[in-house]
């Protein structure tokens, strides 16, 4: 019997666990370690942040699902990986620390034959002074953050109903943030909610972002064929901001968030500030801070993890200028180059470089988005890793045969711009490939026939439907495999 240990139970971890269980059945053991007792459909947190949904609608308890599927679940956080074992244990193992109330603080070692690191990111609020829900800004990164944001929004709306004006600052809280899409969705759902509450005239909305221009979204933007022109997403995004009366500040690195004021520096090196009553600023991501040790207990963290804490896999991490970037830099199997029984999925793997062109201001401050790794590609790579490991456990192959390079993968994305069955809208986008390939598509970097985008009510219906479909799937309800990643 082989044991597959999965660290993390988010979109990637859950997808890997369910697919591995489906392939391996009861002959092998699947173990999941996650510090959270609940699964969270993160894309809907933006709706919790405006009060459109409650936290209970975007979460469910993990243990009953794992009990049903006969997957062993430990509510714990991984502390360190020992890929060679140690002096007392010859097998590779992971040290975990329980977070559940009944075993809180207890340390345990769990051996493994194969390991999938799907921990997701650490929300690095500490990177910017004053950033975060425990300080001077709000967030929608977790359902509890989003619930806190909804309370603050309700207070602001009450103030506006009494005649006060309010300034809302929404966007990214650091020069190297990713997830501009989530902040974009929150901004437009907020604007929609303010109109619904009939207080829009009392609100000034400002977007602040590390993107070079609007519509970059950390993927260098995209080109779409529309109205006889091939047009960059910047034009459509600026149009939407203008239509909804939203101001924008781009090319910005937030340096400090104070109570009612945010200081930022821009790509020209100028330091500026903006006053606000409400700030929802997303943090940059880093790895969760896992350590690694060899059998002699020497620290080998740098062998397993990049400096940003994400796991090194089969990508090309050679430092090279933007002009020399190649789609083949991106990993295909997500297997660690030295420890072949270790894989990383979702946000946990280290990208070889950004997708957007790196920019640095005269002060030496890097201001550009890091690559997003959204639900669809995270799910696909997790499924492929699970299938590869299943084949390796069953002896069908010695090496991973299925690939899931972001440079050969497309993505479909729905960005909500207002939630209502009759009046809501969302931007529906498809892009192929995720990583631009200027060798194959010299003008646009992507296949223009597969790269599309439009805004409308249909997008809202799809986003709402996907909310229920993916929660249904994550609960491993009957026929869950019909729902694609």
């Amino acid at each position: 019997m082989a044991r597959l240990l999965i660290l993390g139970a988010g979109i990637a971890g859950q997808t890997a666990a369910l697919h591995a269980k489906h392939k391996l059945g009861t002959k092998h053991e699947i173990v999941v370690v996650s510090p959270n007792s609940k699964w969270n459909w993160i894309p809907s947190n933006i709706w919790v942040g405006t009060g459109y949904m409650k936290p209970e609608q975007v979460t469910f308890e993990l243990k009953p699902v794992y009990d049903k599927k006969e997957i062993l679940f430990h509510q714990a956080k991984a502390v360190s990986i020992h890929p060679e074992g140690d002096k007392s244990i010859s097998k590779p193992f992971v040290t975990i620390e329980y977070t559940s109330s009944d075993k809180k603080g207890i340390i345990e070692k769990i051996t493994y034959d194969y390991l999938i690191n799907a921990t997701g990111p650490k929300l690095n609020f500490d990177a910017t002074k004053g950033l975060g829900p425990e300080r001077n800004s709000l967030s929608v990164c977790t359902y509890s953050h989003a619930a806190q944001t909804a309370v603050a929004l309700k207070e602001s709306i009450q103030r506006m109903k009494k005649g006060e004006s309010q300034t809302f600052l929404i966007g990214t809280g650091h020069g190297n943030c990713t997830c501009q899409g989530a902040a974009f969705e929150y901004l437009f759902n907020l604007e929609f909610e303010l109109r619904r509450q009939k207080v829009r005239d009392k609100a000034r909305l400002i977007w602040i972002s590390n993107e070079f221009e609007l519509g970059d979204f950390g993927i260098g933007g995209m080109f779409i064929k529309r109205g006889g022109y091939i047009t960059h997403s910047r034009i459509f995004t600026e149009s939407l901001y203008t239509e909804r009366g939203i101001e924008w500040i781009v090319q910005s690195h937030v340096k400090e968030v104070m109570d009612g004021e945010t200081v930022y520096e821009n790509l020209s090196g100028e330091e500026k500030s903006v006053k606000h009553n409400f700030a929802m600023l997303l943090p940059p991501f880093s790895g969760v801070g896992l350590k690694a040790f060899n059998k002699n207990d020497d620290d080998i963290t740098s062998d397993l993890f990049a400096p940003n804490g994400f796991m090194i896999v089969d990508g090309d991490y050679t430092k090279k200028p933007y002009e020399q970037w190649n789609p083949s830099d991106w990993p295909e199997t997500y297997q660690h180059p030295k420890y072949k029984n270790i894989f990383a999925a979702g946000i946990a793997f280290a990208p070889p470089h950004s997708i957007s062109k790196p920019m640095t201001n005269p002060n030496g401050t890097p201001i550009f988005p890091t690559p997003p790794r959204t639900g669809m590609p995270s799910g696909v790579m997790a499924r492929q890793i699970a299938y590869n490991i299943s084949d390796m456990i069953k002896g069908k192959s010695d090496v991973p045969t299925r690939k899931a390079s972001l440079a050969k993968m497309g993505a479909a994305c729905i960005a909500s711009a207002g939630a209502n069955f009759f009046r809501g809208t969302a931007v529906s986008m498809t892009i192929y490939p995720i990583i631009p390939d200027f060798n194959k598509y010299p003008d646009t970097g992507r296949d223009i026939s597969y790269t599309t985008g439009e805004i409308g009510l249909a997008g809202h219906w799809i986003k709402h439907f996907l909310h229920y479909a993916f929660i249904y799937k994550a609960k491993a309800n009957p026929f869950w495999r019909i729902v694609p990643e």
Binding site: T242, T425, G456
Partner: protein, 48 residues
Amino acid sequence: MSLRKPYEQSYFPPVPTKLTKFFRTNFIYQLFRFIIINIKMLRMVRKH
């Protein structure tokens, strides 16, 4: 709130006409778009 103040950032982008905005939330037209968008997305899923 005026959308168009000369030479400010909102002066330059294209803005949708009333007809464009009407179709964005027109139930019948959006039912049609729902089908089209789903086909596009399924086409993308099949490429994986």
